[in-house]
Assembly symmetry: C2
Homo-oligomer: 472 residues x 2
Amino acid sequence: MSQDKAREFELLFYPRSIAVVGASRTRLNFGTLLIQSLLSAGFSGPVYAVNPGASHIAGAPAYPSLAAIPGPVDYVVTVVPARQVLDLLDDCAARGVKVVQMFTAGYRETGQAQAAARERELVAKARRSGLRIIGPNCIGVYNPRHRMPYPPMSSVGLAGDVAFVSQSGGHASRVAHDGILRGLGFSKVISFGNGSDLDSPDYLEYFAADPETRIVGAYLEGVRDGRQLLRAAREASSVKPLILWKGGRTQAGAETAASHTGSLVSSDVIWNAAARQTGAVRVYSVEEMVDTLLAFQCLWPFRGRRVAVISGLVDGGGGDSVAAGDGLASVGLEVSPFSRSTADMMREVLAPAGTISRNPMDVGSAGTEGHTLEQLAELAAADPAMELVLIQLHMDQLLGFLSTGRVAEIAEFFIRLRQQYHKPVAVVSFPGAREKERLEFDKRLVSASIPTFPSLDRAARALANLNLCPPL
Amino acid sequence: MSQDKAREFELLFYPRSIAVVGASRTRLNFGTLLIQSLLSAGFSGPVYAVNPGASHIAGAPAYPSLAAIPGPVDYVVTVVPARQVLDLLDDCAARGVKVVQMFTAGYRETGQAQAAARERELVAKARRSGLRIIGPNCIGVYNPRHRMPYPPMSSVGLAGDVAFVSQSGGHASRVAHDGILRGLGFSKVISFGNGSDLDSPDYLEYFAADPETRIVGAYLEGVRDGRQLLRAAREASSVKPLILWKGGRTQAGAETAASHTGSLVSSDVIWNAAARQTGAVRVYSVEEMVDTLLAFQCLWPFRGRRVAVISGLVDGGGGDSVAAGDGLASVGLEVSPFSRSTADMMREVLAPAGTISRNPMDVGSAGTEGHTLEQLAELAAADPAMELVLIQLHMDQLLGFLSTGRVAEIAEFFIRLRQQYHKPVAVVSFPGAREKERLEFDKRLVSASIPTFPSLDRAARALANLNLCPPL
């Protein structure tokens, strides 16, 4: 990527000041919410509102025009009707603004020829004026390091090295939101809507080069220039894992996508071929995107298929074991027997307990006694035939049999296990009635690079996806 | 079903008194937990412990032997080692016990010839003594009407008309537990483990005849007599919807099932054929079982494919709409345009808003104004081209834009909508940070026969499953 382009993107993700044009004094619109969010999340630079009828909006000083703002303005957010935007771009150019993020919609996505013409005019004017446009029809940037949240978030999550680029603002916001709750650390998230100036190939090119980004997720609906996207995707996925969700893969979805971001949706066959060519990992829902990003954040560059499964930590886990055998096998992972020496040692730990020396291991009530659970799990992790340890647990059940102190001790043990045996550990943590305790437990594990998933099927899919990324 | 058999099952699900043999005074074993659960859930009859070393266990009076218990005993639970069970059966017979539920394991499932022989002996003795056995290797009965919970539950959930029969105690307990949290009302749940006396065909026959049961779910791993099971499944599914999950459908799963309940697992091809022949609806995980039972509880005998989707209730839902188009189409549901007159009326409600008169409908910020959301949803529900209304919502987002009072009002509106248009309504209620509010909202809807699901894919699958049940 050229140095010029890198500088442009620097201001896009790290603006020194932001002005919101069209925040309402009386209604809770996107602009008002954005100002609230920026201020409560502690954005470091000045935040201004542009509104002729107010002195302050949501805590930010308001000015009648961009020209009236006293300091420099890097980044403008438009929440005004489309018909006002062209004049606004003149004001932006005059004021030395570099980036315009347009929440404003009403362009190509309406399907009207006049609106599409207006979008072309918009881009032409931006190019003439040296402005870059994010959008239109988008919610722009989430950058935890720069304390830029998505409204109505009142704070940012952990900073990390996962980037997500999305044609949909809703999906960008949900991947950010759900990701934060699950322990994903983002470098940046960008929603770019119609992508009429900067488009998916630009963002992919940037994230491929961005030193803050190690893993890239993308939600795309369509693209103006397929060849350019293919090249950008190939380049990105040759240096970093690229997780790709394509919206509009069915007729019904494609028709909706056309009215959503004005995308000409190409056929799913082409996208499948493109994914294969580029080495991108394809996913099919918000849930699978978040699960897969989490698996990559915690485990990549691990690749492997031979899974040791530990179920029924304190109570019969026979059904869970069968489900794990089925679920893992059906996505191409392997649940093969422990090595003979491992099985022998397991039998020594516990006298004849048929299901304990098998893979999946069903610990059962033995797990309530002393440190039997730890002994068995260590034997499983140490088995050279196993590449990954997957533990299934029910927080409701653990807390039914064990003290909270013992449950916390088990989390720390899993973390030591991962470190000691240099072998990936993943956890299925089934939801139930003790969600507060479960989410805390999960967060502790994820912070130590143990991904957690709410169902076996979701875990299996995300872990299998690790193998779809070619070694880089 | 014969009157004799019906009477046998009456005592199995409605015992007048229960004795637990092998509850521990010092350890929290299954027996101790069961006594705690029965007492705290308010089981109406006497609960006794049999233990030679205690006068009370977990609040129940303890006796040195069954013979020493003062009153009649209908139902005995064994938590003793397998070698003690044969003698215990003599005591049971002498005491007039009718049903023995064996938590005790260590039989066929161990893979040892001696243990399999012990199981045959057990059944022979039970038959000679006029006893019926649930198990061995199982957790038995959950019956909310009779206040029989699964340990460690301290209460029972709502009573209803969904039965679940399971070869796995873990899955029985989880379907009960998750089902209760989701608003499922059970008639009875039974875990029967090895099923060495009463087996899956017996339970299916009973639930087919049971007047308290309208919908039957089953988790099976294998069966001694395939022809008998096929007949029972065919009979059950000719009178009630039968939702069937078969564990051990892959090689890895099947090997695990053999050591779990000693099941000879037949090939998946045979089960697929059987499901087709019998009209059973096949599902593939605990999550899909609970989702599908909930869809049937709320909506059956509805069948239909044409779905009106409402997304983005207060904020852009374009991405959700595309995902709904893709997700519903990929399971064979249809998201086709609204009738022309409906679309015209929608456009009247709101001036040119491209995405609002389309299906999926993306309400967006219009939903924060007055009762626009209600007006649009009513038009969608009234459209004769639509058979089902599916609403997607994010509680975190709703509460970001609307007051809690308004959110409660929206729940009541959905309920009126369902009643007024005699058309099924279902809701995707995405998890987030406001889980308490979300689960309350969901419970209110489910109580009015509006099923809720935590993801679009899970909703799509469960709603599509309604169509796999033949009309009865």
